[in-house]
Structures are given as C-alpha cells and as structure tokens.
C-alpha cells in the first residue's frame, strides 16, 4: 500500500524543497541588490538565510571564508557532511562558502545533499563573487575620484595614495600595475629599472634551472631583500623619472585595461559560448562606471576576436572590419541577437556584409558628405546554429544527411520537408527571443532573410538560393509570432532544397558544415493607403557589365531601380523592367524616346498589403489612380508622356487622371543627388572592402537605407583573348561586337542550338516547357564544359516562356557558355541576363555569357551550319525525339573532320568570335587520322568509352589493389574519341599498391573492350586501355601526367575516389 503513496509523497516533498531553495535565493538576491549594503552586511544576510534553503534546516550550519575573514552560523561545528562552493572574483578564488549538516542525514547525491542544493550553493557563490567585485571596484573608483578631486590642487605624489588603495583592495591588480610600471621605466631607459627587471627574471629563471644559469655581470642595485622593498624601489624610481601626471594617467589606464582582461579571456577562448560572451560584454560595460578607452592594441585584439566569433574567420573580412567596427557596436549587436543556450553560432554572410558596410559608411561619412545620412534598417539576428537547435529540438537530425542523397530524391522530398519544418516547434529560448524581437520591431512589416555561413565564402554567391520572406507583421502578438516562426521554418527548410544542394555539390562545398543564420529586418517603407512599400528600391553595382553605350565605362557602375520593394530589381523578370542608370554617366538614358520609356518602364510594383497580410505585385497605374498625389516623391518617380513628349509632372498634373504617367525616376536621377550618392557609396565600399561590390538599397520617402552589401562576384584573372585575324569566313560560326565580357572558354565539342524561329513556332506552352526539360537532360549527358547552349531571347525566362527557354540554373550548369540570340523585333531588344541571380550563377560557375545580334551590321551568323549539320539530338535523348526540329545537337569534331569550336573574347575591343579549328591539345590530335569506317559516329565512340570507363572504376577493388582514385583523361574525356582511340586512365596509387597485379587486372578488361570495340566498329586495336600511374608525390609536384589532375580546366575527370 505504501508503495502507492510514495511517489506522491516524494513529489510533494520535492516541490516543498524547491520552494525553500527559491525562497532562499530570492532573499539573498534581494539583499545583494540593495545599493547601500556593505560587504559585511551581505555576508551576514547570506549566513542567516542559507540554512533555510536546505532540506534539513534545523541541523544545517553555514560557513563563509573570505580572505582571512571567516563567518559562520552560531554553534557551528565542522562535520564530514559538507558541500562547498568557491567564490571567485576575476577568475581568482577569494574564498568559499560551505554548508554543513551537524549530524548524519539520509544519503542523497552529494552525501546527504541533493543535486539541487549543490546548485543552489554554486549560484549563491557565483552571485557573491560578482557582488564582491562590484563592491571593490566601487571603492576603487570612489577613492580614485577623490584623489582626482584633490589633484585639482596638483599636489605631488597623490598617485601613491591611489596605489596604496589598490594595494589594499586588489593585490593582484596592484602587482600587475607594478609590473607595468617597471616596464614603463625600462622603456624610458631607466637603468635601475632594467636591473630590477633582470633580477626579477633572474630569480624566476633561477628557480627553473638553477645550475645552468650563469651571469657574471655585477648588479648595480643592492639585492632586493623583500617584497616591500621591491615595491618601494619601483615607486621611487617612478617618482624620480616620471612626472606625476604621467604616472597618474598611466595607472588609470592600466586599471582600466585590467578590467577588460576578463572580457578578452572570455572572447579569446573558443570554448566559451555566445551566452558567456554576451554576459562578458554586458558586464564589461556595466562595470565601467565611467566611459574610458582601451589601449588601441587591446581594443583591436578584442575587435578581431569578436569579429571572428560573431561573423567569420575570413582574414580578408576581419582585416577590413577591424578598422571600422568599435567595441560598443558589439554591445548593441548582442542585444539584437537570438541564440540557443550554449551557442557557438555566427551571424552568417549577409549579416556580416551589411554590418561591415554600415560601419564603413558611418566612419567615412566624416569625410564624404554624400554618404552621411544613409541608414540601415533595424535588424534582429538568429545565430547560425539556431537551425541546428531547431532540428535537434524536433528530432529531425536525419535531414542533415539530405545533401548526400541523389538530387532527384532531394527534389521529391523537398516539399514534404518544408511541411515537416513548418509543423515543427521552436525551442523555447528561441521563441522567447523572437517574442522580444517582435516587441522591438513593432507592427512594421518585416523581412526574414537567410544569412548562411556559406554566403560569405569567396567565390560562392548564394544569392537567391535560400529564401527571403516578407511578412506584413499585422495582427495580435500571437499571430505575428506564429507568422514569423512559420517564415523562419520555411527559410530553414530552404537549406535543404535541391538548388543550393546542387550548387554546393558543384562548388565542392557539400561537406562544408552549412548553418543558416537569420536576419529579421524591418522593411523600409511607408504606408500608402492599405499598402506598405519603399518609394523606390534597387541594386547597385560597382562594375557595370551592362553597358548600353560605349560612353559608359565599367567603373561607371550600374543601378537597377524599381518603385516599391526591391525584389523586382534583384529578380529577373520577363514581363517587366527596372529603370537602369549608370552613376558615372548620370545623363545617359537607356530609353530615350517616349515610346521606349513607355515600353520599358516598370508596370508593376511589389508591395505588402497590410489588410490581407500578403506580399503582392500590383499595377503601378492602378495605384496612381487610387492614391495619386499621396504617392510620396511623386515628382521624383514619375514622368508624364504628353504630346509625344516626356516631361516632369507639374503642380496641376498629379491628380489629373487623363495624364499618362510612367515610372522614369527622371526627377530622382536628374534633380536629386541620388546617383551621386549611390556612386559615392559603391566607391567607398569598393575602396575599403577592396573588391567591387553590389548593394541593395531602399528609400522610405525620407531616408536612404542600405539593405545589403557583398563583393560583386567577379573573376580576378580574366584577361582578354587575342582575337585571331584573317580567319576564312567559312571557319567562323558567329561573331559578336556588343556587350562582351572577358573570360576563357574551353574547347567546344558540342553545340546545342535551339532554333529561334522553330521555337517561336511552337504552338503550345507545354511543348515549350518540354524544350526546357530536354535541355536539362542534355545538360546531364553531354561532356561537362565542352558544349555551348545557344537559343533565342532569354534563357531562364519564367513568366513568358515564348521569349526564351524556361530553365533554371541546375538545368544548364554544365555548359561552358550560354548564348542568347537576340533577333530584333522592331525596336525591341531582349533584356540581357544581368544583375539577376541567374547571371551571377553563371559568373560564379565560370559559365560565359554572350548575347548575339545576328541582324547587326558586320555580324556573321552561320545559320547554314546549324541547318545542315547532322543532328544527334534524337540519339542522345530519344525520349524527346519529337523536339528534334527545335533543338539541334551538333557534334563538332564529327561534322567538321575533327575540328573543335573555339570562342575568343576580348572585352577591351568589344569583340568575340567563334571559329572552327583543330585542337592544340595533343590528346585530341589523334582524331586527325580519320577512320575509314564511317558507319559509326564519333559521339558513339566517346560515349561508349565513357560508360565503360565508369564501369571499370566501379568494378575495381580499391582496397585490394591499393588505389586512391581513378581519373579519365584524353580523347574519351574530351569527347573526341574515334573508333581506334584508347581509354586513358590515370590511376592514383597508394604506397602499398601492387602495380603488376593491377596491370594484370586491367589487361583483361583492355582485351575484352578491344574485342567489343571490334565487334562494334570493325576496327582492331591491341587492347583499349592505356594506364598511367601516379602517386602522392607526383601529384604534389605535378610530375608528368599528374598535372592533369590538378589543373582546373578539368583535363582529367575523376571517375571514383576511394571511400
């Protein structure tokens, strides 16, 4: 029977105990918080209160040891039943506090004491430590300021009083000050000080290694007899050699330095969590009763450590940021950070970018007026390990392996994963943080942006790969919180979406431990009717890669501006256009006639509807109809087209519904310093960050806001090609003279050509989408970076796919060049893929982009070649056979007798040309000896060989033979193999590799393949596999063929690595 009751009894007891502990804690906390309480009083309170917090208060006694003082409760006696916690101040143990039971009590965790009781004691000790420190410093500063007041009378030697006080209150600090004083004296060249120092060192050295040390030099000063004498000597030396003023300021500074040391310790220790760092920073500022400055070197060291902990280990970033970020900035930053307890997370690339940019602008605004009033929106951050804590809290760990799955699988599972995340709970500490953030942000719309760790990796721009979500942030607090959490879950889920995973796989970043930081940013904007939006927003680039006039230089930059949210300037839209301007050439317009302006001005704008809580795209003209003059900055945003003339709105125009308004930003561009400002911003940032940048900005009708800043993805080593002269016309496939950007294009063996006129004749949308799918498939079967994609209008067109093949980046990521054929349609020139996520992908992947204007003067476009050459599309992707009239795949070496296609580009002279030529690479030369057997296509040869090579690599037992990796090189890898070509394999061997056995194993394959090849083609060869062996040493030194493994142009393809 008793068994049944026991658990309940126990529970009641436990609760009772817990209440007692809390009571005790509260009482102590309460008394310590009184500002007037002395140390002594505090100790008494603790002694009185403590026993009541324990299970058996009647037999409980406490004792507190502080330095030489001992406090204990009445009738105290030492017993073996004790728990003890140390009291430490500034990491130094200054005493302890213990609780004793005067008689034996039932056994618990720590003897008779429970876990909770030990914890209670620890907490009190910790709290007491802080209290003591606080008290001490109060004393020090009080006395210091007293001294300083007296110093007004400039009495000599007052610094001695200060030091004496320090000596009494904080011996450690005193020793440290003394040491520093000695250093100072040495530095000033005081000989005795040097002696003293030597002696000090000597005695220490002597302790370590008495026998070996031998110094014959006599000492000038007498041997220091004792500590007091030592102190006195130093102080006297100081008095003799330094002025009182100097000594006082120095002492003051050293005291302050000492205070920062605990912060430095915390920050420098990579094991400390963000919580501890946050505490240390808060404490540091809390303790500093007066504003003071740290030694520059100390401050810099702290800044670097904090930058590393909060943002990134990247040296490039830190070296710039440390010059611009102040310690106080971190203090404000931590107040806006949300992180799981024990977090070691960072804030991610996007946060790092904007944080640095904002501080650069802030600092430089002293020198440059134009950038003075640029603001950044209020932002809260969730650290990157928030996502991990979210995953762990919901036991979703298996998603972390998602990235290693097949892409198809990832794609299929993704929608499910999004739902899973959205239905998961957030850990309570994150929820609490978000709740505070929402209170701070108020009911303004917010945007949840991803800020992942990968985003700040050089050479990898993750723009648009992860989600950013707008929230209207209206309604009850609870509703707003749920909406926010929902959005964050969705952004978290996007870490596991197929596009970024594929991108990472390609960049070799799959194994990088990706974590997702979150920025919760207030949306810059203003309310117009039921809508909320910035008056205008956009992106600006330091380097202009879309020059519509030869007068525009690259460094003139580029701005893409839209009314409303900047999404339409960042994204690539097929049915709408941003207004473009080059800040370095503010007077040149892309659109000059009223018709052009009408056609290419933004028709829609992205806004947040505060009534429906939705992000919406609305018609600009409808908005004007509805709100007219209440549209802020109307005259800056709009122009009027009237009487075949473009003009700026006048006083009477604004509310006249009969007027034709177009978004032109003419007023903004020509009447305000907008472009100058943007130019100044990008120039300053480029100069300081030492890289061209791209920024996002917005204007709320009053101020400019910087929303984002990152290095403009660019390749450092792009040099112009020498364009060959006097090429026979028949060898030219096409040339181009507009919008050329530099970059090397590898030899091309295959051309994928989407016939513009055939494409435009496709009667239905479904078939057009099918073209995109076929391209995606080709992208997978054709040799990587050996083919080019050519097609009409805009690749990647999403809305209106008539304008170009609908593909995403992952559908084209293996091409070496993307060519858009811009057939003129009246005055219509297709929008070039610039400033969009897609384009940056191309730049990052080193996929070259070229627009062709076949109708322009002096342009060669060999349409006959495309029409007449044999099309192997149907054979490559038989499932899309019905599209063979639209898509042509031409095997260049096959139709051009072994020639390949080479594209030369030179942006300096704005010229590019694609010519058929023989490859210079020797591996490909063998193709020149043409086989007599014409029945088989060359593309069959390489594909068959490729397949076989992959098979072999899969079959071989890596462990048994001692192999590290197998690579494919030569004609099979170049897709130029003929019926007689070998399959060239590079075998990376380990030390224990038995090459003879391995050769034997391959010999079998080689002969078998040779026989198969004979059956296929009728060509006899003596074995088909050519082996090349390399070891670690070869690879390190690039010996012989090993160089192919290391070169970046992928002259050897990795078939398989040892697991």
């Amino acid at each position: 029977m008793s068994d049944k009751f026991n658990p309940i009894d126990h529970l009641v007891l436990e609760l009772h105990e817990r209440a007692k502990e809390l009571n005790c804690l509260y009482k102590i906390e309460d008394s310590l918080n009184r500002s007037d309480i002395t140390l002594k009083e505090a100790f008494h309170t603790i002694m009185d209160t403590l026993p009541n917090g324990f299970q058996y208060p009647n037999v409980c006694k406490a004792r507190l040891v502080y330095g030489e003082i001992v406090y204990q409760t009445e009738n105290f006696k030492e017993t073996p039943w004790v728990i003890r916690s140390d009291i430490s101040v500034q990491d130094k143990i200054v005493g302890n506090i213990s609780v004793y039971y005067q008689q034996e009590m039932p056994q618990s965790h720590y003897g008779p004491f429970t876990k909770a009781e030990k914890k209670l004691l620890d907490t009190i000790a910790d709290r007491l430590g802080h209290f003591i420190l606080h008290q001490k410093l109060k004393v020090v500063f009080q006395e210091l300021s007293n001294v300083r007041e007296q110093m007004e009378g400039s009495q000599k030697g007052e610094w001695r009083i200060v030091l004496n006080m320090v000596r009494k209150t904080d011996p450690n600090l005193f020793m440290s000050l003394l040491r520093k004083m000695l250093h100072l004296l040495c530095w000033k060249g005081v000989e005795e000080a040097e002696m003293l120092m030597r002696q000090n060192a000597l005695s220490r050295q002597g302790n370590l290694d008495d026998q070996n040390y031998d110094d014959n030099k006599p000492l000038k000063v007498k041997k220091i007899a004792n500590y007091d004498h030592y102190v006195e000597t130093i102080l006297n030396l100081a008095k003799e050699n330094l002025t009182d003023d100097v000594i006082l300021t120095k002492i003051q500074k050293w005291i302050q330095e000492d205070k920062s040391s605990s912060l430095i310790k915390v920050v420098d220790n990579s094991d400390t969590s963000l919580t501890e760092i946050a505490d240390a920073i808060r404490k540091f500022y809390h303790l500093a009763t007066e504003k003071f400055e740290l030694e520059p070197s100390t401050a810099k060291g702290l800044r670097v450590s904090l930058l590393r902990r909060f943002f990134t280990d990247q040296l490039e970033y830190i070296s710039v940021a440390k010059e611009y970020v102040k310690l106080t900035d971190f203090r404000f930053l931590i107040d806006k950070m949300i992180f799981p307890s024990g977090s070691h997370g960072k804030l991610g690339g996007k946060s790092a970018g904007i944080f640095l940019a904002a501080h650069i602008l802030n600092k430089e605004s002293d020198k440059i007026d134009l950038i003075k009033d640029i603001k950044t929106p209020k932002t809260w951050y969730i650290t990157s390990d928030g996502v991990i804590s979210f995953i762990q809290y919901n036991n979703l760990e298996e998603v972390l392996e998602q990235k290693y799955k097949e892409l198809d699988e990832v794609r299929i599972e993704y929608p499910h994963l999004v739902q899973l995340f959205k239905n998961s709970e957030f850990p309570p500490d994150i929820v609490k943080g978000l709740s505070i953030a929402l209170d701070d942000l108020g009911e303004k719309p917010i945007i949840v942006r991803s800020s992942s760790l990968l985003e700040d990796q050089i050479g990898a721009v993750f723009s648009g790969k992860y989600k950013s979500l707008f929230l209207a942030n209206q309604g009850s607090k609870q509703q707003r919180l749920y909406a926010l959490m929902d959005a964050i879950a969705e952004v978290y889920a996007s870490t596991f979406s197929p596009d970024p995973i594929e991108y990472r796989a390609e960049k070799g970043l799959l194994d990088f431990h990706e974590e997702m930081g979150i920025m919760i940013q207030e949306v810059v904007g203003t309310k117009v009717g039921k809508y909320y939006f910035p008056i205008f927003a956009g992106v600006a680039f330091s380097n202009n890669e879309f020059r519509w006039s030869p007068r525009i230089k690259r460094e003139d930059g580029l701005v893409r501006i839209v009314p409303g949210l900047g999404t339409r300037a960042v994204d690539r839209l097929s049915d709408d256009f941003p207004i473009l301007a080059a800040p370095g050439q503010p007077n040149l317009r892309v659109n000059v006639t009223p018709d052009e302006l009408r056609r290419y001005s933004p028709q829609r704008m992205d806004v947040i509807n505060l009534e429906t809580n939705e992000f919406e795209s609305i018609s600009v003209s409808k908005l004007i109809e509805e709100y007219g003059a209440s549209f802020p900055m109307f005259n800056e945003v709009f122009s009027i087209i009237e009487n075949n003339m473009v003009r700026q709105p006048g006083l009477l125009d604004v509310d006249d519904p009969s007027k034709e308004f177009v978004v032109s930003f003419e007023g903004l561009i020509s009447k305000t310093n907008f472009l100058k400002k943007i130019h100044a911003v990008t120039k300053v940032l480029q100069e300081k960050i030492k890289s061209p940048v791209d920024i996002e900005f917005a204007h709320d009708g009053k101020d400019y806001y910087l929303l984002q800043c990152r290095p403009q993805s660019n390749l450092a080593d792009i040099s112009p090609d020498n364009i060959p002269k006097d090429i026979p016309q028949e060898l030219i496939l096409f040339n181009a003279k507009k919008f050329i950007s530099n970059g090397k294009v590898p030899d091309i063996t295959h051309i994928v050509y989407v016939d513009p006129s055939k494409y435009s004749e496709i009667p239905d949308r479904e078939t057009m989408l099918e073209v995109g799918r076929a391209i995606s498939k080709l992208n997978k079967v054709l040799p990587k970076r050996k083919f080019i994609l050519m097609g009409p209008g805009r690749w990647g067109s999403r809305g209106d796919i008539k304008l170009g093949v609908s593909v995403t980046y992952s559908d084209i990521n293996n091409t070496s060049m993307l060519i858009e054929i811009a057939k003129k349609k009246g005055n219509y020139v297709p929008d070039l893929s610039f400033g969009t996520h897609f384009f940056q992908d191309l730049v990052e992947a080193n996929i070259r982009y070229l627009p062709l204007y076949p109708d322009d003067d002096g342009i060669i476009f060999n349409e006959t070649f495309f029409n007449d050459s044999e099309n192997i599309f149907g054979e490559l992707v038989p499932e899309f056979e019905e599209l063979k009239n639209v898509i042509k795949v031409i095997d260049v070496p096959f139709v051009k007798d072994g020639m390949i296609l080479k594209v030369y580009v030179n942006a300096e002279i704005e010229s590019a040309v694609a010519i058929f030529t023989y490859p210079s690479n020797e591996a490909v030369k063998e193709i020149e000896t043409k086989t007599s057997n014409e029945d088989y296509h060359i593309h069959d040869h390489w594909r068959w060989r490729m397949k076989m090579a992959e098979k072999i690599a899969n079959e071989i037992d890596f462990k048994k033979f001692g192999i590290k990796a197998i690579y494919l090189t030569g004609s099979t890898n170049n897709a130029t193999a003929t019926a007689q070509s070998d399959i060239d394999l590079i075998i990376h061997t380990e030390k224990n590799c038995n090459i003879e056995n391995l050769k034997l194993w391959f010999e079998g394959w080689s002969l078998a393949l040779s026989e198969m090849n004979y059956l296929r083609t009728g060509i006899k060869t003596n074995g088909l596999i050519d082996l090349h062996f390399v070891n670690d040493n070869d690879i390190t030194n690039d010996n012989g063929i090993a160089i192919k493994i290391n070169t970046q142009n992928e002259s050897a393809k990795l078939l398989k690595l040892k697991n």
């Binding site: 006039s549 049915d575 007077n587 040149l588 000059v592 009408r598 009487n643």
Partner: protein
Amino acid sequence: MASKEFNPFEMAQAQFDKVADLLNLDSATRELLRNPLREYAFSIPVKMDDGTTKVFRGFRVQHNDARGPAKGGIRFHPHETADTVRALAMWMTWKCAVVNIPLGGGKGGVICDPHHLSAKEQEQICRGWVRQMAKNVGPLNDVPAPDVMTNAQHMLWMLDEFETIHGGKYPGFITGKPVGMGGSLGRTEATGYGVVYTIREALKDMNINPENTTASVQGFGNVSQYAIELYTQLGGKVIAVSSWDQQDQCSYTFKRNDGVDLEQLRGITDKFGGIDKNKAKELGYEVLDGEAWIEQEVDILIPAALENQVRADNAVKISGKVKIIAEGANGPTTPEADKIIQEKGIFLIPDFLANAGGVTCSYFEQVQCNMNYYWEKDEVLSKLDTKMTSAFRAVSDLAKKKNLYMRDAAYVISINRVAQACKDRGWV
C-alpha cells in the same frame, strides 16, 4: 551570286520612272524630279558633358519645293544613309501633292544614336542643326517635323534656336509641337479619321450606305481606334479587330458579330494597344487567331498595324464580300498581294492617300502658326474632311477615267501636280 544591296532611293526612282512613263514626262522634268533639288550636308560640333567636343554629321534634303515650302521629318539615326533620306524626301513630295496641300518634300537628320547622348547633348545637336541650316529652312521655305528618334521636345529646341537667330516668333518653322506651344488640335484623330473620310467617299461612289456595311480592322493603335470611332459614327459596324498581345508575343483577333464596342475595348486595353484577351472573352468577344481579321466576311478591311501584313499567302483568304481595302498603315500590302487584290477587283485606297490625314494636319498646324490663330478641333477636323474628300475625289475620278489601279492613279495625280508646278514656274 551576291544579290545587289537594297537601295531605297533607286527603288523610289524606279517607281517614279514607271509613273513618268505613264505621264509621258519629258526628260528634263524626269531628271529634275528623279533627284533632289537641293542637298545640304554639314558638321555640328557639340561640347559633350564630359568636356570633349564631338562633331556630328547633319544633313537636309529638299527634294522639291515647286508647290510650296519643303516638308519633312528630322531623323536621329546612327546608320543613316544619304540614299534613304533622298528616297524619303521624294516620298514626302508625292505625299503632299496627293492631298493637294501647298507643300513640297524634304527630309533630314543627324547621324547619331540618342541612347549614347544625354538630353543636354541632344539639345546641343538640335540647336547646332538649326544654326547650320537657319538660312535655308523656315516657315517659307522648309518646315521640319519629328521623325525617327525625335519628338516634340527636339522640335521645341529647334524652334527656340531658330527664333533666337531670326529675332522673332516663327512657330510655323516646325510642326509636331505640343498643343499650346503652336501645336494643332485634332492631330491625334487626324490619321484615323482621314482613313474613314476616304472610305466614306469610296462607299458613296459604290452607292452603298455606310450603315449597311461591316469592317474588320488590323491593329488597335491610334489610327485604328479613331478609324473605328468615326466609322461607327457613320453607322458602320466593325465586327473584328486584331491587337498585339505583349504577354504572349503574338496577336489575336477579337470578334463580335453585333459589332465591337470601342469604349468597352479601350477600357480593357493597355497603353501599347494590347487588348486583354481574358476580359474580352468575358465581354463576349470571340478570341481568334491574329490572322483571322483578314478572313472575315466584311465589306471593308482596314490594315492599320505594320507593313507587309497583307501578303500573297493571306490575301487569297480575303472574303469575296470585301469591297474596299483602306491602307491605314504605311505599306501594309506587298506587291504580290497587290496583284491578288487587283485581280479580285477589290477597291484599294492606297496608304499615302488613305493615311494622309497626318500630314494634312501638320499643314494645318503650320497654317495656324503662320497666322497665329488656332482653330477649335471641330474646325480642324472639318477642314481635314474637305481636304481628304477632294483629294480622294481627284484620285478616284482619275482612276475611273483612265482605268487605273487606285495606287497608280494616286501616284499619277501627285507626280503630275508636281511636274505641272515645275513647268508653270518655267523650271523645265
């Protein structure tokens, strides 16, 4: 075999030669009219925004001014050729003559691309052009107008420079100005209404009451909309109209058998003349293929979109019911289609007669400017009616009398008028 490069001037001359044969013109007159009377070519130095100076090439061709001051546009074009400008100047001479307005033909321009120029630089080019030509142009000898890549703004800059040089107000120096700055009312309606005035006259000749007719229109731009407006006012019924869909990059024909409602369609049209096909469906319009407009069982076809829209391949689909084709657009009919239309016996109102409402209104603008008295819109339109009607009468009478195809008759009458003026002046 390399084909000879297309030369517009040679083509214009060949066309002239054909008519000159018909008119049996003497060789001196032929020689005079085959070539421009005067050609000016000059340099325009401009201080650019960046402080450098750039020299632009300007020119003006006055093809013939026997009947009055030369009239014609100023083009800003980076790839302009002398022969293109000569051809266009000649075309202007005939165009003015066919509507019998007292103006000759001219054309000019500057080799430049405004996309590479700031507004300030363009202004300097305009003013520079006038400084070079101030003595040879003016309300009494040569009247420019906007053309490719130039607009009312450029005209005002030019006018201002001209008036500064000559020390007076000469709004008649240039046309295409905004209303209130010397522009004429009725300009927007002029071309579309002009087309319908000629249709009305053609129907009169055929003894057909407009109220009993139907029409199908290609395009839904300015010309088309006003043509539909006036035609409907006359009692006619437009049952089909086609328009370009920007989104789908193709055109659709919108059909409603009891007649399209212009105001209704305007309400669902974007500013590029694109009719919203979904809304049109809701309003009860059939949405057909873009080419369907030409196949309709109507009395009148009005191609008012782009050139080369009536071709051999679709001209054969023209219904047997069609009696009139009025060319609202410039050059909508290819020569092959012309033959088919002729064979079908359809009455064709050629472009430079049918759409001469525009140039007539420019003439009115100049007239109003010269007397510094501006008419109300009604007055402009009624004068336009008179001009167009009498122009049509003259051409159709000649066509009947000489049994000529309307297009040939229009050329014959206009070239004859110019030749006669030259003779009367004793030039030839």
